[in-house]
Amino acid sequence: MLGADNFDSRVLGDGGVDMLGELKTRALALVEKLEQGDFPGASELIQRINEARDRSIYREVGKLTRGLHEAIVNFEIDVAGSEGDNISHMANAQERLDYVINLTQKSADKTMDMVEAGIPVVERLGSDAKTLHADWQRLIRREMKPDEFRDLYHRIDEFLGQTGSSSAILSEKFNSILLAQDFQDLSGQVIKKVITLVQEVEDRLVDLMRVAGQVEELTGVFSQVEAVQLAPARDVVAEGPQINAQQRADVVSGQDDVDDLLSSLGF
């Protein structure tokens, strides 16, 4: 039921204040008719009061309908994709984020491939150097026989050559690793686009909600929203990596905090 409280100029718009004045005039006339015992007259006045109220409502509903239509159209253009696009912008956002996952996966794999290829090269260099060094020490201590020395002579030559080629291999791996970090730039650009998209969706939803709120005010129909019950399924909800750990009291900021927490509880 419409109460006088709901009829304020914000809801009724320009005609609102006039509306109230008109209604008041007619209401006073109605009371007069009733006091005179003029039932048909009173009936007709009531009819006209209803009509005046209805006209006002129709005008406002018309305005709101247009407003709602506009908000929905904007939403579709920004979010669901206009007729020219093949896919909605939300699907677009999902594709972009999938792209980021794939890109970072590939870069990580490539980097680790380079590292895993480099490790045996370094290990071999290290162990050969160690063996040669031990023999060289023997030479220094004059513990080496002439034919052993001839052998060492050749092994050192080989080792120096190996060091040269190992350096070249490792340099190449390092360069590849450096280049594989390009994912940051590419994924950063894509993520920025998604942030923009999400912002647009949020703006459109706010528009829709604003218009829906006006409809509710006009009709006096407020949807019964029960207190939102958080799903009790899990008491502790996993949140993934913490972005602003220092701003939250219920989150630890690093391994040291974890260790402190556990030992304070006796674990």
């Binding site: 996966q105 630890v252 391994q255 974890v258 556990l262």
Partner: protein, 126 residues
């Protein structure tokens, strides 16, 4: 020493596998979810489990609880390596019987220290 590494991101499994190899543990297997890990543990004679928390099928915390509830597996040493950093979660894992909790991002030194500590305690209790 047979170790099972469980994480839904192959990148992380590879990192942990390499770190374990550096520490001398070369006998490692992998699973991408708690649901695939549990049967592997039940059939596989593993000595150590390293698991993430957030996984789409069966989460790490549920895997932990399932292992502790299994008569054959209940004493398996378990290390959680995860991005989950809420106090409630750490406490829940500890109460469910996890042997160590490492938060991501982590260093090789931290991983080494936690693994060594777990095995020290296992040895001491035997």
């Amino acid at each position: 020493m047979k170790i099972l590494i469980v994480d839904d991101f192959s990148t992380m499994r590879r990192i942990i596998k390499n770190l374990l190899r550096d520490l001398g543990f070369t006998n490692t297997s992998e699973a991408d979810d708690g649901s695939t890990a549990l049967p592997m543990l039940q059939n596989g004679n593993f000595d150590f489990l390293v698991t993430d928390w957030n996984m789409p099928g069966m989460t790490g915390i549920d895997l932990l609880k399932a292992v502790r509830a299994d008569e054959k597996l209940k004493n398996l040493p378990i290390l959680m390596v995860t991005a989950e950093a809420k106090r409630d979660q750490i406490i829940e894992a500890a109460q469910a019987g996890v042997n160590g909790y490492v938060v991501k991002p982590f260093t090789a030194a931290v991983l080494k220290e936690k693994i060594e500590k777990i095995f020290e305690r296992v040895a001491a209790s035997q």
